[in-house]
Amino acid sequence: MPGKMLQQPHTDINGVLDQLERVVRWSEEFQLVFVKCHHPVQQEALRRAFLARLHDKRVLEVVLEQPIVSLLDEITALWDSAAPPQAVCVYHLEKSINEQREASPVLGRLNHDRDLLRRAVPATLLLWLPDFALDCVARGAPDFWAWRSGVYEFPTDRGLWHVESAFALAPEASALFSLPLEDKQKDIARLEQLLRTARALPRQSKRERETAAHLAAQLALLYYSLGQWDKAQEYLEGSLRLFRQLRDQKGIASAYHNLGLLAEARGADDEALMWYRKALALREKLDDRAGMATSYHQLGIIAQERGAYEEALEWYRRSLAIEKELGDRVGIARSYRHLGKIAYLRGAYEEALEWFYRSLALAEELGHRSGIAASYSQIGVLYTTRGTPEAAVAWNLRGLLIDLELHSPEIRIDLHWLAQQRQQLGETRFFGLLREQLSEKDAQTILRLLDDFASSAQDDAVETIAETQGVQAAELGDHTNATSSEPLSAPPAVLPPEV
């Protein structure tokens, strides 16, 4: 990442374009040129401007939409020997630089193939890359890097970064949890790109550092929603560091709270409690009402898990009061669900069911998918433990289908209760109930998932499910409108994180 220089070279976009044009026009043989450009949208505009300047030259464009191993193969496949290009522009090589960073296979091949490339490409080869990828090439393909004729750096378009960041941060955090897996992955890629760009911005303003902190926090929530705790922790700690530097008390409180969620997800309840209390103390000091509601809520969950139902009820009621005051309907739906849990745990099943249905109705009205799934699952759990598993199957199945779509960590809870129902009902009856909701093929897929879940340790099963999730969800299709009877049972403790 950027270091410090004695003096900042003067760069402007037209000046860099002038230089790039000269680089191509003044050479008729192989030369290797790197073009630094952070932002995909900015890159597209610059690419057009560059090609317009070279309208009289033959320029081959190689767009690497998917990861590759051999750049030589990609270029030679497109090379026209009858009308050889005078310049070759390669875009998105960074997509081939994976989590192995400088150890990515494509870089090893570049290092190995540099002389072959020189012979195969008697033209100016321009690799357009963001800053992090240039660092990876310098470290991971040092021989290839040593052959560069120059590195031409476009200054980052700050205005564009601000607009894109504002757009990326616009969705309510609660909505992030209801995104399908593919959208979550796209959001992660976009946020990580924006965060990398932020790190490369020289002389960041306070507002830019605030934006970077929020980008990191948003990334943490997305990783949390996918059950990737380590990545979530990394980004949360990064956002906390930035909020502390900025003395942003509200941001610090939010980071504390989310660290509590992570600790809770990992089963470290005492640590979670510590974080929640720290967050609440700060929020009360700031009179951050919305923040206080989420803190109350999570403290309620910890109390509930410890069997302190009266205390939990008190936290949930406090949370609900603020949510109603603020008109936070997602929060209200969540509190209803948890009031239902307490009623259930105290044996007041009719009351519990009423809360669950109220929560479900609100979540459906809001289109809040993870809330809908949670309510479905709660109702299914209630019916199972009340000894009516026939009524429960459809509910837990519907919860599972949504959670698969969202790639939610709740999948394992749905599978646990479906496995219980299968055991109680017997194979034939259970399969028959699945078939009432699903096609033969989809019902078989559910059985395979349950078999995998039963035959391996729980964590391993979740990994397997995660790996196959894309296939399974596609096979299952959208059955969330399947009909179901009323019903009830013992709810999972994990909640969507603060939002």
């Binding site: 410090k4 220089m5 004695l6 760069t11 003044w26 040092p142 020289p202």
Partner: protein, 161 residues
């Protein structure tokens, strides 16, 4: 590698002559007299010195300066700009704090300290090896320009954008 400096830090006349001759021959081949090619005599010397005696680096610096300037003569300012660009490029590969400690040791002693990083720093040309007579080592002049190797100077900016 051409030995362009001596271990006491002064220019090596024979090495500098050889580096200048390389540039002059290139200019002659392009039918450009030396006088209009550089603004003042010591601009060429500056570029030769900052290449560390590495011929490829010399040509990268000249080429970068030419494309930045767009026309001759090459000025001292544009030559310095080319060197800064090269410093930035070297910095990309120097991603571990330990690298800079080793570089400082080499800068002081002109020997390799026997660290795990010695070979890597030689390989990526951050450290140059001069072999005529007794072998000795120097930090690449473009790397020496990096702020991280100059703790006594005040930082004035970040890497270029």
């Amino acid at each position: 590698m051409v030995k362009i400096i001596q271990s006491n830090g002064t220019d090596d006349p024979a090495g500098m002559y050889a580096m200048r001759a390389i540039v002059q021959r290139r200019l002659a081949a392009a039918q450009v007299p030396e006088d209009p090619a550089f603004d003042i005599g010591n601009t060429l010397d500056y570029v030769c010195r900052m290449s560390g005696g590495h011929v490829r680096n010399l040509l990268i610096l000249i080429r970068t300066a030419c494309t930045a300037a767009g026309a001759l003569p090459l000025t001292r300012r544009v030559a310095e700009q080319a060197v800064r660009g090269m410093s930035n490029d070297f910095e990309r590969a120097l991603n571990r704090p330990g690298f800079f400690e080793v570089l400082r040791q080499i800068e002081r002693s002109h020997t390799l300290p026997g660290s795990d990083y010695d070979q890597l720093l030689l390989y990526n040309l951050s450290v140059l090896e001069y072999l005529n007579g007794t072998a000795w080592y120097a930090v690449n002049p473009a790397v020496r320009e990096l702020e991280k190797l100059q703790p006594t100077r005040r930082a004035r900016g970040r890497r270029s954008q």
